[in-house]
Symmetry: C2
Subunit: 203 residues, 2 copies
DNA sequence: GTCTATATACGGATAGAC
DNA sequence: GTCTATCCGTATATAGAC
């Protein structure tokens, strides 16, 4: 594994565990067993390293996040909740301390440089894209006026808000309850899908 | 206005605008037109000042947040959405940069001292209490198996998640859409309230 | 591309006169 | 309770040999 990859990987882990501001260049160097000269050879500064981390997250959404979460699950709606269950497991594994690394950075960096902000937004977009695909695949279970992308953003809203509370209360309870409410919302939407529009239903 | 109050007030503003870590003691001193000696006369350290800020937020929930938001609004469910509209206005007024100061701190402080974390949780609790009261006041509009506190936490979940996205995308659109989905969920719950439990309905 | 030593600034916190 | 000067650690970043 190259020095560059080690630096990016350890930075990714440390930004997640300690936050961006609280992680010093020295922390990263020690964890990656590298020297300052190496880091500044690859990156002009700390922020550029952050950009590399965010790019790595983005390109990892499908192979590292979605594919493991969706293995063996075919129903598109169940895939949504399987993804949310991954975040639940992440919280459980860390004593409800670490949740979504992107959401964390999104709030920690108050007025980030545009180069950083667009990358955070791109990560959210990639996540929402995946949820939207699931909803679109189950399109005929929902009322016609349900907007798949809007609903997908709402799933992200729920996940991030639920993670925030789990972290604050250091308990999985509020997370589970928020996901349960989201599930109930999905059920309610699907129940009302058939009745109001009995026109042109396929098959 | 006392020096102490000026220090707490400016710290509150700066923590909100720049974050806790990025706000230096010197920033606060300059903004409050005070000296280091004064600050350390009132507070042992920066974290104690943060605690004072969080206590101020908590005691201000009703007079500073709920009462203005609820002025002239009697319907308990409309009160919930009126409160959410306050956060919307906050985002609008700041170019979608600053949202809920508590949620911000909740994610910025990764592993905060227990003294800090319990104060963040207390702020969330106070907020959820208010929402729960609204839902409880409209209890008979919802199905019997709706848990008012659980649903109240879900409102907080939605608000915080929606604010996070508004900040990231620098647009009010995703915020509005998330609130619209929450409204739709509330409507769906209320529509199903009458039918499944026609027993002992009052009046 | 890797290493050590270091420049330079700023952080939180303190001392002690007034 | 207020003020100035300052300690001391750590931060990001750089210089320059290898």
């Amino acid at each position: 594994m190259s020095t560059r990859d080690r630096i990016v990987g350890e930075a990714m882990r440390l930004f997640w565990e300690k936050g961006y501001a609280s992680t010093s260049i020295n922390d990263i160097l020690k964890a990656a067993d590298a020297n300052a000269g190496s880091l500044y050879h690859f990156f002009p500064g700390k922020q550029d390293l952050l950009c590399a981390v965010l790019d790595t997250y983005q390109s990892g959404i499908r192979p590292m996040l979605l594919e493991p979460a969706w293995a063996g699950i075919d129903d598109p709606i169940e895939r949504i909740f399987a993804l949310l269950a991954r975040y639940r497991q992440l919280l459980i594994d860390t004593g409800c301390t670490y949740g979504c690394p992107i959401g964390y950075l999104a709030l920690e960096l108050h007025e980030p440089d545009p180069v950083v902000r667009v990358r955070i937004a791109a990560n959210f977009d990639g996540w929402v894209d995946a949820i939207e695909e699931c909803i679109a695949a189950a399109r005929d279970r929902f009322p016609a006026d349900v907007d798949p992308r809007r609903l997908a953003h709402f799933v992200l809203t729920t996940m991030e808000g639920a993670v925030m509370q789990a972290r604050t209360y250091r308990t999985i309870e509020t997370f589970d309850q928020s996901i349960a409410e989201l599930r109930r919302y999905f059920n309610a939407l699907q129940q009302t899908a058939g009745a109001p529009k009995p026109k042109g239903r396929k098959k």
